[in-house]
Symmetry: C2
Subunit: 300 residues, 2 copies
C-alpha cells in the first residue's frame, strides 16, 4: 500500500574522525523514503531551494519514489545541516543549522496524497505535523517522530499530536527529555500513555525498543564492523519499518515486530557509508540475506 512521508530534504555536511563531506544528499524524508522504497511505493512531500541539485531528485526517482510533492522554491536555499562526530561515531555535535526555505514550509497535499493509507510525519514542528494530518482522508496508520527542539519548545502541540497518532518514534535521549524518566522501559510506557497505540524508542547502535498495551520488547542493532557515518540511521530505521508495514498492509503484533527488524537492518546498511551511498548499492535480496542472519543471531 502507498506510503506518504512529509519531512526534510537537506544538504548535509559531515565530519567524521576519518573524513569530511560537504553538501551531501540528506534529510529525514530522503533517508526515510529511500529505505521504505525497498518495500512499498513511496510518496515524498517536502521543499528545497534552487541550490538543490536535480541529480539528488533523480537518485530518489531511480528507486521509484514519487517526488511530485517535492516543491522547488526559486530564490531560496535548501535546509542545510553541518555536524561533527567524535571518535567512536556515537556522539555528534551540530556545527551549523540553516533552516532556509524549510523554515516557512507549510505542506499542502494533493487530493491523491490525502488518500494515502500510510503516513509518516518525519521531523518538523508538531504544528506542521498536525497541519498535514488534518488534510488526510481516513489514513489507516499514522506514525510521527519528534526531535529535541520541539519537545523543548512545543510541548502542548506535541501532546495534541500524541493524541492523534497511532505510533510515535523517538530517540532514547528524546524519550528521557519528554518524560523526565531515565529508565527507558518506564519512559516508553509513559509515552504510550500519552496517546499513541505504540511507541518505538531508537537506541542507535543498541537497537530499538517497542511498547504497546500488551508488549514491551527490545531488538538489538545488527552488529556491523563497517560504520562510516551514522547520519540517517534513525530515519532509515523508520523508513524500513513503515515501508514493511505498508507492504504488509496490516499492523498485527508480529508484523510490527518484523517491521522493527527490517528497520534495524536497513539502518545497518545506511551507516556503512555516507549519505545514501551504501543503500544505493543494495537491493531487497541484500536486506533479506541480512534478515536471515539476524534471525539466526536471535535464535537459540
Amino acid at each position: 500500500m502507498p506510503l506518504l512521508v512529509v519531512g526534510t530534504l537537506a544538504l548535509d555536511s559531515i565530519e567524521t574522525p576519518d573524513q569530511s563531506r560537504e553538501a551531501m544528499l540528506g534529510g529525514s524524508a530522503v533517508y526515510f523514503s529511500y529505505a521504505a522504497s525497498y518495500f512499498t511505493p513511496v510518496h515524498l512531500v517536502g521543499v528545497v531551494g534552487e541550490d538543490w541539485p536535480s541529480e539528488h531528485t533523480e537518485v530518489l526517482r531511480t528507486r521509484g519514489i514519487d517526488t511530485d510533492g517535492l516543491q522547488v522554491v526559486p530564490n531560496t536555499k535548501t535546509f542545510r545541516w553541518k555536524a561533527r562526530y567524535t571518535p567512536g561515531l556515537v556522539q555528534r555535535e551540530t556545527l551549523d543549522v540553516q533552516l532556509n526555505v524549510y523554515g516557512s514550509h507549510r505542506p499542502v497535499l494533493s487530493d491523491a496524497l490525502r488518500r494515502c493509507p500510510f503516513l509518516f510525519l518525519a521531523n518538523g514542528s508538531p504544528t506542521v505535523q498536525l497541519g498535514v494530518l488534518e488534510q488526510m482522508t481516513g489514513p489507516r496508520l499514522v506514525v510521527a517522530e519528534a526531535i529535541e527542539m520541539w519537545i523543548r519548545d512545543a510541548r502542548d502541540e506535541l501532546q495534541q499530536l500524541l493524541q492523534r497518532v497511532d505510533g510515535f518514534v523517538l530517540s532514547a535521549s528524546e524519550a528521557r527529555q519528554l518524560t523526565g524518566e531515565d529508565n527507558l522501559v518506564r519512559a516508553g510506557m509513559m509515552i504510550r500513555e500519552m496517546g499513541p497505540t505504540f511507541v518505538v524508542i531508537k537506541k542507535a547502535e543498541h537497537g530499538a525498543m517497542f511498547f504497546s498495551k500488551h508488549e514491551t520488547y527490545v531488538l538489538p542493532a545488527y552488529p556491523t564492523p563497517d560504520v562510516v557515518d551514522p547520519t540517517g540511521a534513525g530515519d532509515s530505521f523508520a523508513g524500513g519499518m513503515m515501508g514493511y508495514l505498508a507492504e504488509q498492509g496490516n499492523f498485527e503484533p508480529n508484523t510490527l515486530k518484523e517491521a522493527m527488524a527490517y528497520g534495524i537492518l536497513v539502518a545497518s546498511f545506511t551507516v556503512e557509508d555516507f549519505s545514501l551511498d551504501r543503500l544505493r548499492r543494495i537491493d531487497r535480496d541484500d536486506i533479506m540475506l541480512r534478515m536471515e542472519r539476524y534471525k539466526r543471531m536471535l535464535s537459540f
Copy 2:
C-alpha cells in the same frame, strides 16, 4: 559439573539517586557464585578480613555454594568499595576503594579444587589469575575477566593470560581501552585474535556481544522497569553464563548462546534490588519464566 570461581568478596557502600546503603554483601565472586548456583555446584575461593559478618557466608551456603575456600584472615579488614550512581543509574563514580586483605591475597587451591573442570577467574591482577590457572589440573573450560586497572597497568601479563584462557569477558569501555578501537564489533574480533576462543563484551543495559571464529552476535538486555542498583550485573551475567555451561557440560555454539541468555536474565534480576536481595527472592522457575518471555521477545 562443578564450577570454581576465584575473585573478590567485598563490603559495598552504594549511593543511588534515591537511596544509600552501607557495607553490603558484594564482590565479583559473591555475585558470580550466587548467580551460578541456580545451575551448578559452585566452589568459591577468596579472602576476607575479620570484619566480615558470618551471616554473609551463610547467605552463600544457603544456596549450596561451597565456601571452604573462603579464607578469613584475623587482624585484617575486608575489601571495601564505595560508589555513587548518577541519575539514570548508568554512570557511576567510585568514591573509595580499600583493597585491605585482598591486596596481598595469593590464592592457593586445595587438591580437590585444582581438579574442577570449569574455572572462572574473576577480577584480579592477571598475575594472580595466571597463578591460579597454573595450579589447575586439566580444566575443561577457563574463562577470565579483566578490569580497567589491569588493562592499564599490567598489559603484558594480560596478553599472557589471553593466550591461556578459552573465554574472556569484559565491558564495552574495557574492550575499547584494550584495543584502542571504538567500534565494538571490531574490538571484539581484535580481542579474539589475542588468544581466547571466544570473547564476550558486556554492554550493561544494552546486553552483550559474543565473538568466536565463526560467529558474531549480540543479545539485548532483558527490559526491566525496576532498576534499583546495577552493581553486580556484570558478575551475575558471568555467573549465570558459566553456571549454565558447567551444568550442560559442553560449550557447543548453541549452548554458549543459551548461556549468554541465562547470564543476561540472571543479571536482569540482580539490578532489581541492592546486593543479592533480589536474587535471594527468586528460584530457577523465575529464571525459566523470564527465559520464556525473552525467547518470545526475540522471535518473529
